[in-house]
């Protein structure tokens, strides 16, 4: 049996009830979660109680359906992972904040005020730029823009990557060759050059983040496709896949229900990397003056326009950079937490 408890890989925070002697998997869910709730840090209790309530709901229902209780296990484990919760909290804060600020802040990102080049103040928390634009409104709008773009890109990359990689790895042979040559074709296209050309045509014409995201997404799914294919190539040789086939599972059932969940860890990690990559790529394009165009804003565009004044009006550069970094880190944390929560072996009690 493979033991994945390699020193250094196991996170030092695990979701076992501290000091408890019982294994969470062996007790009924409600018991273990209740017991764990009392032992967790005070900050986590609120969240934990909500899941305990969720569990009690399932118990009332007679714990119907293994998949449902499995889902609740994953949710509970995610909610108990401090790093994941920091990531999720930051992300939700950024998302809600940017939506609320875009809707309710007294200035819009298009507003031009009479205060030029003002450092952060009560009136303008993030200061103003050289033409009097309110940076708070602009940074939040840019953050929202980047979140929208990166999520759409990641979604596209995962869907396309799995749709191409899974059959390639599962069927092998001619299907594999054909699909992977197509992937190679996309891979050898110099992404930046294509983006520069396409973005110039599409984005400049429409000035629409949606099309920019579609272009980036259409070019960034290949890594996930190769990864999924490699995973499926090894998975299809595994005994439990043959066993499922011997039970009469169809190909699509094998791929979607038996193999994909086993490959979910690397997919999620790569999806988060794709999110970060999409933000960086969008920033790069905007920085080069090809992505989001003024008066629309994105973090990349703000960083681009802020760089000239970085030594004098520092807030124009530093604040968008910080937001970019925090956003990417938050996504990474969420991805890592999801991966931990989805791995059933992480529930294991150390002997």
């Amino acid at each position: 049996m493979t033991d994945d408890r390699v020193p250094g890989i196991e996170p030092e925070f695990d979701d076992r009830p501290r000091g408890g002697v019982d294994a969470p998997g062996i007790l009924p869910h409600s018991v273990s979660s209740d017991r764990a709730a009392g032992l967790l840090a005070p900050g986590a209790v609120l969240l934990d109680e909500s899941t305990a309530g969720l569990d009690a709901g399932f118990d009332e229902y007679g714990l119907s359906g293994a998949s449902r209780s499995q889902l609740s296990t994953v949710v509970r484990r995610f909610l108990r992972d401090p790093m994941a919760m920091i990531g999720l909290g930051t992300f939700v804060l950024l998302l809600l904040g940017s939506i609320l600020v875009s809707a309710f802040w007294r200035y819009s990102y298009l507003s031009i005020t009479n205060t030029l080049n003002s450092p952060p103040s009560w009136a303008h928390p993030f200061g103003t730029n050289s033409i009097g634009g309110d940076m708070f409104a602009q940074v939040m709008k840019g953050t929202l823009q980047d979140i929208e773009i990166s999520l759409l890109v990641a979604l596209m990359a995962v869907v396309l990557g799995v749709a191409v990689g899974a059959p390639a790895g599962f069927y092998g042979g001619k299907v594999d060759s054909l699909l992977m040559r197509f992937v190679d074709l996309i891979l050898v296209i110099p992404v930046l050059v294509v983006l520069i050309v396409l973005a110039n045509i599409v984005a400049k014409e429409t000035n629409n983040w949606f099309w920019l995201a579609i272009i980036i997404g259409a070019l960034s799914w290949t890594y996930i496709a190769r990864l999924v294919r490699a995973d499926f190539l090894t998975l299809r040789e595994r005994d439990f896949i043959e066993a499922s086939r011997a039970l009469g599972a169809s190909d699509s059932r094998l791929i979607l229900r038996h193999m994909l969940p086993n490959a979910i860890g690397p997919i999620i990690v790569n999806a988060t990397i794709t999110v970060a990559g999409a933000i960086v790529l969008e920033s790069t394009l905007s920085f080069l003056g090809l992505g989001i165009q003024a008066p629309n804003v994105s973090l990349g565009l703000l960083i681009d326009s802020g760089q000239d004044s970085g030594t004098t009006e520092w807030w124009l550069l530093v604040i968008p950079v910080i937001f970019l970094l925090v956003l990417i880190l938050a996504v990474f944390f969420i991805g890592d937490g999801l991966q931990r929560a989805l791995d059933p072996k992480k529930n294991r009690v150390r002997a």
């Binding site: 049996m1 294994a23 998997g25 062996i26 007790l27 009924p28 869910h29 007679g62 714990l63 119907s64 359906g65 293994a66 998949s67 209780s69 499995q70 042979g173 595994r238 005994d239 439990f240 043959e242 066993a243 499922s244 086939r245 011997a246 039970l247 009469g248 599972a249 169809s250 190909d251 059932r253 229900r257 038996h258 969940p261 086993n262 979910i264 989805l342 791995d343 059933p344 072996k345 529930n347 294991r348």
Partner: protein
Amino acid sequence: MTDATLVVDDLHVDFSSGDGVVHAVRGITFALAPEEVLGIVGESGSGKSVTALATMGLLPKNAKVTGSIRFRGEELLGLKEKALAKVRGSAIAMVFQDPLTSLNPVYTVGWQIAEAVRAHQDVSKDTARDEAVRLLKLVGIPDADHRVDNYPHEFSGGMRQRVVIAVAMANDPTVILADEPTTALDVTVQAQVLSTLKTALNETRASLLLITHDLGVIAGLADRVLVMYAGRPVEIGSVEEIFYAPSMPYTHGLLGSLPRVDSDGTERLRQIPGSPPTLVGDRVGCPFAPRCPLRAPICDEQEPELRPVVFRPSADGSDGPTRVVPAHVDGTDHLAACHFADEVSTMPTASMFPDTSADHEVVP
């Protein structure tokens, strides 16, 4: 045997490899009666597992399968994948060798049993789950109501194999194929798994094709035994016939390599010298001849056919003192592929193979 559930008729399986064609199975024929347990024994590479996989239609694409495999008269060879999927699991279920790898690590055992049920029966999730709990109880998983939500890695090897058996039972199959179900387990757990397998047979009234290289497992469970060597059946008969009147030197060799409870303990275990032949290319003569103590010129010229054994206890009493031949062993369904089968059937196992051990000190 017209009412046989599973009939395998002259099955040949060839694999094309870089070195030439590998004849993994060269003409195996057997019929499995309802509720019968047929054991297939043989060394590694004798074609046991390939036979099982061919029956399930699970061989890789480079395998060339000829002959006939009929389930209740319906030909399985050449069936489309979709039609095969209907047969798999519901009519013929399989228990795999290694319970550590034959369960999906990301799903609870309950989900996996329910999944097997739902693959063939249109039932609700709750019903499938109840069925999973019932099956887990049946195969002797303690606290099944709670264990149903555990993942495979939370079970021991023996318990996992019981779960695998529960999965195989899920659709009340007519035939269960067990491919070395106890090989990956330690000896104390083997007995438990075998008794679980018996429970499963009683419950489902299924026939069992038991593939193993462990004659002890065969003796405990099987009604009939088929001995394979180099891709061919070399002897088939009831358990009594095989164990008390083995009629092929290879069977003698297998039995001679096992400790016997009914001997006085002074007998050394015998080994069969040499190793199994390569299955690449064509060969003339009996495949066992190079390792056979009774090798004669005819053995190198002609491969013996399977034919009925006429059991004749020798008049001069050369029957070994340790061999007790039950009266009902009459050789009617006892076939062996040896030019000297009739003679071999009366020979004592103990002296057939030379004692090749290095130390010859007398065992007190």
